[in-house]
């Protein structure tokens, strides 16, 4: 890895693939698959293939902060072996704590070298959130706080990819009361293109797709209002779910061990967050397209959505009530409020008859008088 840094010219992706022992057919299969995943039309296959054939590999610095490395794990398990081989092993990952061979000063030096040599060209991938509490002591590497490392690496990065929910929105370590003040990347770095790839972890093919897009087209993929690539995050899990017909039919699993669960009914009532979660799980699935949570009989927990850990319970649809603890349910509050209102109105009605007795009797008397005066 370090020797490669000394090379004057970075090899292209195709050269790397060939060197790895893949043939042309494997390469084109990979390209077709990636093009489809990114959501491009068939004619773009040639474009992507050409880009990977001719463009030198993009240098990548991959930082790990407050995280569990599930993003890296997901990435190296993406369905096509070439993903791991060319994009990770051979992506010219110049620095990544969990996968690089070097350690200590050598590793830090490698990162410094990449930052200098490829100033303004390298892509910065960030896995994990940055703890801002207690001056950042909760996550320090090589004597520097996460924030220092991030700011240093981000300064001359071409683009930043925020891998996973930690870097995109803070994930569980940012759950109330967020003791370490875990902060997502976009709140700390301004003025750089940031691609959020949320999920805990994100799907490996999605991660590969984002990188392939960056490499092939030399620009960041189209993003939605929350900064996520539209190709993967524009549809709800619910709207692409194979159990959707059961939802529309009104047939639901009532508890995880009931007959309906065995029949594969919709998991909506046992808290599936598919209807409020934007991700590609229903389409791409996981583990080489084997399955995804709903297919395995468990509702979506909404792991790619901001604040999914604080916004309600995982196994219920009930709306929680922020500020009143996780046990508080909006409908319980509503019912109490309705009861109080009813009691108040009953009290008001009684008081009306007491306090406004004079007014009411005079109205009644007036009405009765008119009744008498009317000749029948």
């Amino acid at each position: 890895m370090f020797n490669e840094l000394d090379q004057t010219k970075q090899p292209t992706y195709y050269e790397e693939v060939e060197r790895k022992g893949y043939n042309r057919r494997d390469f084109l299969q990979f390209v077709s698959m990636m093009t489809a995943f990114i959501g491009l039309e068939n004619s773009a296959v040639g474009q992507v293939a050409k880009a990977l054939e001719t463009k030198p590999r993009v240098p990548v610095i991959w930082l790990h902060f407050q995280e569990c490395t599930c993003c890296s794990e997901s990435f190296i398990r993406s369905s096509h072996p070439m993903v791991a081989d060319i994009l990770l092993d051979k992506i010219s990952l110049d620095y990544t704590e969990t996968l690089m061979a070097a350690s200590g000063f050598q590793a830090e030096e490698a990162m410094q070298n990449t930052m200098k040599k490829y100033k303004g060209e390298y892509i910065l991938c960030v896995e994990g959130s940055v703890p801002m509490g207690a001056d950042g002591v909760y996550c320090m590497i090589g004597g520097k706080t996460s924030l220092q490392i991030l700011q240093e690496a981000a300064e001359n990065a071409k683009a930043i990819i925020a891998w996973g929910s930690c870097a995109s929105n803070g994930c569980v370590q940012a759950a109330k009361p967020n003791p370490t003040k875990a902060t997502p990347i976009h709140k700390l770095i301004k003025g750089k293109p940031i691609i959020k790839v949320p999920g805990c972890p994100p799907i490996g093919e999605v991660m590969a797709g984002v990188i392939v897009h960056l490499v092939a087209f030399d620009r960041i993929p189209e993003l939605d209002a929350l900064g996520r690539p539209k190709a993967f995050y524009s549809k709800r899990v619910h709207d692409t779910c194979y159990r959707r017909p059961f939802y529309d039919a009104g047939l639901y699993v009532e508890s995880f061990d009931d007959e309906n669960a065995k029949k594969g009914y919709c998991l909506y009532k046992v808290g599936c967050k598919g209807p409020t979660t934007y991700n590609a799980c229903g389409v791409m699935k996981w583990n080489n397209g084997t399955s995804f949570p709903i297919q395995s009989g468990h509702g979506c927990i909404g792991c790619s959505e901001e604040n999914y850990w604080d916004n309600g319970r995982l196994y219920e649809r009930a709306s929680s009530f922020a500020g009143f603890g996780i046990e508080a349910n909006a409908d319980d509050f509503g019912k109490v409020a309705l009861g109080v209102t009813g009691a108040a109105l009953a009290g008001h009605a009684v008081m009306t008859n007491i306090r406004k007795k004079k007014l009411i009797t005079s109205l009644e008397d007036e009405g009765k008088q008119s009744e008498h005066e009317l000749k029948s």
Binding site: S234, R236, D248, A249, G250, T276, T277, N311, I360, Q369
Partner: protein, 242 residues
């Protein structure tokens, strides 16, 4: 009966609620009832069983279709009412809803004392909305807005028409659909509480005033004492300038 001390009022018929206002009111009521019922069914669906294939049934689908249709009715009805606030009669005017004058605030205080706290004092007369009611309706309009924004915001991702798509920016403001959906759900309770209090107060006013409060939303008329016309002592919170 002490009829000799009794002053029998002569009443005059006043056309308070014009036909479009009445249409708006009842359409709004029906839409809100439909939205609340279907909303609850969407939030926690009934436990149904069926031997049919799922594709043959569309139970939840219909519940949602009704919710969406009612939502469109509610939305356009709301827009119409805003428009009518500028072209309708003085009781429908936007000036009845927004506290822009000292007089408005003063009347709200009077209503608070006389009708809510039941303190002794001179009974006041409001032909249209009293200032407090007007202000509460002003708040309901904000609740309407919240529901339209969050509702169409959630709907935008599956909508094909440009109108709901215009609301696609809403969920990102709240970080996604999860919180947007919850806000949509909490806000519904405002409508339920409002409806209960609203219906109670209609009965209350009819009971203590005898001016036809309940039927006014049917025919549009209220029956106001002759003296009120002579003394000009009724409240119009903000006098229209035209």
């Amino acid at each position: 009966m002490k009829t000799k001390y009794l002053h029998v009022h002569r009443l005059r018929r006043v056309y308070v609620w014009e036909l479009p206002v009445r249409y708006y009111h009842w359409l709004n009521a029906l839409a809100i009832i439909a939205l609340i019922i279907t909303g609850f069914l969407i939030a926690s669906p009934l436990a149904l069983q069926s031997r049919e294939e799922a594709t043959m049934r569309f139970t939840m689908g219909w519940v949602r279709v009704i919710h969406f249709i009612a939502a469109y009715i509610f939305f356009f009805n709301f827009l119409f009412r805003l428009y009518w606030g500028f072209v309708g009669n003085k009781y429908a005017s936007w000036r009845q809803f927004i506290p822009t004058s000292k007089k408005f605030i003063k009347e709200m205080w009077t209503v608070f004392k006389i009708d809510i706290l039941m303190l002794r004092g001179k009974e006041h007369i409001s032909v249209g909305h009293n200032a407090m009611a007007g202000f509460i309706y002003f708040l309901t309009f904000w609740a309407f807005l919240v529901q339209c924004l969050t509702g169409f915001g959630l709907y935008a991702a599956m909508g094909t028409w440009w109108l709901p798509k215009m609301f696609a920016w809403v969920p990102p403001v709240f970080g996604g659909d999860i919180l947007t959906r919850q806000i949509h759900h909490w806000s519904m309770w405002f409508f339920i509480l409002f409806a209960v209090i609203h219906v109670y107060l209609v009965f209350y006013h009819d009971y203590i005033e005898g001016r036809g409060e309940i039927s006014s939303m049917g025919g549009g008329w209220k029956f106001i004492e002759e003296e009120v016309f002579q003394d000009e002592e009724h409240h119009t919170p903000n006098k229209p300038t035209n």
